[in-house]
């Protein structure tokens, strides 16, 4: 080890002596900053990935449409299924309707699905809170939990569904009767946007409600695991050609995903200030050390040390604190994340808020996922900031005149 590093190390960890208080406080400061960063970002990753999985589970990986009605969708489905990387394809039609129950109206987005194929793309069974998917027929409907609550409907209730075609019929002075449908299931995906105002019926019912004939609006595509989504979209687009459009879920939800990423980046930026504050305490303590070690600084010069080597003695202390703080921070974060659910459950039990957690946050267990990129950024940023914290003290040490340093009291 070069001698300036040895001196730096020995000043932080003197042999045969107790750990200096400065070293302890400096390392703990960095450790806490790193641990908080990792815990918060890992939980953000967990939530973000959970939301991403939810989006894929409700929309599929890719949507194929023309902007209009697709009539020969069975042939199209077969064609898409044959493309490399595609696992399952389900046709659907979607629009807005008015649903009434017990004089309470609702205006949900309704999706007509083919239950045989839908289950291959969307895990509907998992989302069903009550009722059964196999009960869904042309005279029945599934309601999202929020909509069911607004309408006061439950499994077995009868609701009236009005499609926008009512306006056309009214213009032609035709008598219009709403479609009466039985509620056979209540579903909840965990995605508020869907859960507050959605309904699902069979494709045939939707085709009737929107007068689509034998047509659908689009196909949902689920890809095989590990397939690159952009490459798959490009392949589908190339195989199908005009007028078909293949859009990945990433593109369809670009704004939402951007906000999600922005939120995480902002948190990372803000939490880095914890490490910045810790680095000021390192600077402060190292400046004190420079004053305390003035004679030694003079001695190094007398023994022939260059100013750069003297500076390195102090800069390296910042580096060592950064590296150690990062390592201990990683360990503390791993520990905290390992026991996160135990801590949350204990807290919830203590505050009687388990039900509230489930109701408002839709989780009983805190999701958390490590990201190699995040860990690398945190480690590199922490070590750089800590090392920079030693620059000012190092500069002051290097600027000392050897003769004055040796004479200092």
């Amino acid at each position: 080890m070069p001698w300036p590093l040895q001196i730096a190390f020995r000043q932080l960890f003197p042999a045969g002596k107790r750990l200096p208080f400065f070293t302890f406080v400096a390392v703990v400061g960095v450790m806490l900053g790193v641990a908080v960063l990792i815990v918060v970002l890992s939980v953000m990753n967990g939530f973000g990935n959970q939301i991403r999985r939810m989006v894929v589970d409700t929309q599929g990986h890719v949507r194929v449409d023309t902007g209009g009605i697709i009539y020969h969708y069975n042939e199209l489905r077969e064609k898409v299924l044959a493309i490399e990387g595609v696992k399952a394809v389900a046709p659907f039609a979607q629009g807005m309707v008015m649903i009434q129950h017990a004089n309470r109206p609702g205006f949900p987005v309704i999706q007509g699905i083919d239950p045989r194929h839908e289950a291959e793309v969307v895990p509907m069974e998992r989302f069903l809170k009550s009722g059964a998917l196999e009960d869904l027929d042309d005279d029945s409907i599934l309601l999202s939990s929020g909509l069911a609550a607004d309408l006061g409907a439950r499994v077995g209730s009868e609701v009236e569904v009005y499609s926008p075609l009512v306006l056309e019929k009214l213009k032609r002075d035709e008598i219009f009767l709403p479609q009466r449908m039985r509620v056979v299931g209540i579903f909840e995906t965990g995605w508020n946007q869907i859960d507050t105002n959605s309904a699902i019926c069979t494709l045939r019912t939707m085709q009737d409600l929107y007068a689509l004939g034998k047509g659908v609006h689009a196909l949902k595509v689920r890809l095989q695991d590990g397939v690159d989504i952009d490459e798959a979209v490009a392949r589908i687009q190339q195989q199908l050609g005009f007028p078909y459009r293949a859009t990945s879920w990433l593109d369809s939800n670009r704004d939402f995903l951007f906000v999600l990423q922005l939120e995480k980046n902002m948190l990372m930026f803000l939490l880095l200030f914890i490490i910045l504050v810790a680095s000021f305490s390192i600077t402060n303590s190292l400046l004190t050390t420079v004053v305390r070690k003035t004679r030694e600084i003079g001695l190094f010069a007398a023994l022939g040390a260059r100013t750069g080597q003297v500076a390195l003695c102090f800069c390296a202390q910042g580096l060592f604190i950064g590296v150690l703080g990062t390592l201990f921070g990683f360990a503390l974060a791993a520990l905290a994340l390992h026991f996160r659910n135990d801590v949350i459950h204990a807290f919830a039990r203590l505050t009687h808020s388990e039900a509230a957690l489930l109701r408002f946050y839709q989780f009983a267990n805190l999701p958390a996922e490590y990201s190699a990129h995040d860990l690398t950024v945190i480690a590199v940023a922490t070590v750089i900031i800590s090392t920079l914290a030693g620059v000012l003290p190092a500069w002051r040490a290097a600027r000392m005149r050897p003769s004055e340093a040796l004479r200092s009291e």
């Binding site: 001196i7 002596k17 001695l299 190094f300 010069a301 023994l303 260059r306 003769s403």
Partner: protein, 229 residues
Amino acid sequence: MSKEPGRVVLAAEDIVKTYRSGERRIDVLRGVDLAIREGESVSIRGESGSGKTTLLNILAGLERADAGRLFWQGEQVSGRSLNHLAVRRRGFIGMVFQAYYLVPELNALDNVILAGRIAGKNTRLLRERARALLARVGLAERVDHLPSRLSGGECQRVAIARALINEPPLILADEPTGNLDERTAEDVIDLLLGLCRETRTALVLVTHNAEHARRTSRQCRLHLGRLEA
């Protein structure tokens, strides 16, 4: 004392140093001339504040003179940067201070080795030489001890070993016995002079002690900014 005059290892010509304290001007050195030959020992005495330490620092290249010329082994070094002087000093000058200046976090052996490591020498060879030097100064059993566990005399012995680790042709000692009791001071001076004689190392000894000064081959006195023989 060398039997035949050796080469001049250090020469100072007309060294002038002035300090300013507000409006006041203090002429510490007013044209000091000094030449130290290989193996020679020179003592410098003088009242407190007469500029002995300032002269020593200027000779060591730790401080710049306002005027005059300084030669190390024939090379004029006055006017060179402090960084250049630091590098040049590594193998040329060993220093011993009144307050020892050992690194408190390093044991005796590592303190001795430090000077060699700064000079960029091989650590394994340094270790062997440092052990031999510590044995020579009577500290063979205390190589692993931290300075806090050594007495003042022992600390100064470690400092002497450190000054010799790079086998410099010149040692500058600034009141090396100033912090020691009479008996220990005698031992340290015996050791310092003995080692310098053995290794034909030139010695400049700044001291208040007339007895110690008399034991060097040449005695000088710094008075009113001038060096008198």
